[in-house]
Symmetry: C2
Subunit: 311 residues, 2 copies
């Protein structure tokens, strides 16, 4: 039932930082990038190429790409929403982008002033550019598990987005729980359905811990057959709709849980915890990370055994 290996994509530099009040410098971002890669992360979302007025935290993603030290075997990608974004990514020297659309029509119109269908139609020009320039591409479907504007999101709406991406030739797809509304039963049911209906797709799940269900959702996603999950160092990100609530699920909490379950991630947990500590320091507030507060399961034992043996 449980796999021996699960892959974590680090999205702290994008979905983590984009919702933080404090805007980090390029150098600070590069420091976190280097630490994450050094911890063993092999897929990392380094930022987004979207309108700098909409997301000022991501205005300098070009510079992050230009200055970063690429490590062999690591996939660096950025989120984009249109051709302009793809062109900027290419100009900066990045070879992989993630195109994003909302499953929910209300959310899509609110964020991009387009319906999901219009948005995916608009990706045709992106795909032309991507193909011509030998770039790689994946797709993300936000509000796949619930929408702050329309509430429940019917499976058909998620499936429409999946079919739209498949028509474009994109077969790596992420289902995102943008505002932390997913529950483990829903994740298991939607995940199982998608894995069976679209076996050609390399699925990724993206959870926020807004209502503390993210780790339960990841366990449910694994049971459904998904093997790749996003996480953000220190659980950065917050939620624009719920001030004070938790943000992205913390990479280090995911890694800790998976290792406790005997599932390898290729990530050194202690180094991931160092990255999270540094991220919390740089953004200037406490990490939303259980393992940073409580320590690993093995830490508590070690301390007590130490304490006992000193008696």
């Amino acid at each position: 039932m449980w796999p021996s290996k699960v892959t974590i994509c680090e999205v702290g530099l994008r979905d983590g930082l984009q919702n933080e009040k404090k805007i980090l410098s390029v150098e600070e971002k590069l420091q976190l990038l280097d630490m994450a890669v050094d911890s063993g992360v092999r897929i990392i979302e380094i930022g987004s190429f979207v309108h700098p007025k909409a997301v000022p935290q991501m205005a300098d993603t070009d510079q992050v790409v230009q200055k970063m030290q690429k490590v062999d075997g690591v996939e660096y990608r950025a989120l984009v929403a249109n051709l302009k974004g793809v062109e900027r990514a290419h100009a900066a020297g990045l070879s992989k982008v993630k195109l994003t659309v909302s499953a929910s029509e209300a959310h899509c119109i609110n964020n991009f002033n387009k319906t999901p269908v219009e948005m995916i139609e608009g990706f045709a020009s992106c795909m032309e550019f991507i193909s011509k320039n030998n770039m790689e591409v994946s797709g993300a479907i936000s509000t796949s598990f619930g929408c702050p504007f329309q509430g429940k999101v019917p499976v058909e709406q998620v499936e429409n987005a999946v079919r739209g991406f498949l028509k474009l030739g994109i077969t790596e797809l992420s289902l995102s729980d943008t505002t932390g509304m997913a529950n483990p039963r829903q994740v298991y049911e939607l995940g199982s359905y998608m894995v069976k209906a679209f076996p050609q797709v390399q699925w990724v799940l993206h959870f926020h811990n807004t209502r503390d269900m993210a780790l339960a959702n990841i366990a449910a996603g694994i049971e459904a057959g998904v093997r790749t999950f996003d996480g953000a160092f220190a659980g950065l990100g917050g939620c624009p709709f719920a001030p004070g609530a938790s943000g992205n699920v913390a990479t280090e909490d995911v890694v800790h849980m998976l290792h406790e379950m005997g599932i390898d991630t290729g990530i050194n947990l202690l180094k991931a915890m160092d990255t999270a500590r540094m991220a919390a320091k740089l953004v200037g507030h406490e990490a939303a990370s259980a393992v940073l507060k409580a320590g690993r399961c093995e830490d508590i034992t070690k301390e007590k055994v130490q304490h006992q043996s000193n008696k």
Copy 2:
């Protein structure tokens, strides 16, 4: 796969308050008790009868029992560790007790200065008293998923405690993750094993959210066939081994997740959230409760829809 109904036992008055620095008055405890019962809780642990020097927060459990307004259909119980505790519970007028032992020998010796076997042998006199006085009894096995002193706890040690309780005639048993070390794979595996090996037992699982895995563990416990789980309002409790870490899983987070999963609990979530707010106010610190910070999934939608319709 998913049941239509799951039962939550409210343990905030005992395992929540016993680890809080601020000692509540009898009246404050009664206020929380009344609110919890009014929210729909039908099994509630109102305190413990243990040595007042060891746990000063529980010194007045006698008075709580004497002054509480019993509601028909609600099970009121207290935790006890020996005959003296059972006698005190009976003298106060309580008809149900929960006997507790550690699966881990190291933990049992540290807490009670007895091995698990010695401790369960000692329960024989408790059972005599319980039987003579027509009391009810359940058993709790702490450190079932990990021990701060010995680390991993082999299944055999948990099973020894189960068999010990069964020999005494106790068939309602709780497996407790005393210091938040359980992971969902372990819960599924140990839970499934126990449910199959001991079908005569009415199983309860008790989780702490120390490393953010409690909701994942509850989902895994349900999948394993368990239908009863402990929770504590506001996630009170902390962890003596991990200062600053989360305590018991918050009742309102459990209720929220289960309702989102289409599983009934018989508890009114908004009232459970009110109880949690009151508990946080009384102990004087913020609740470790995601749903209190973020609101229910449906709240975020309602607000946005409201906001949109006002545009």
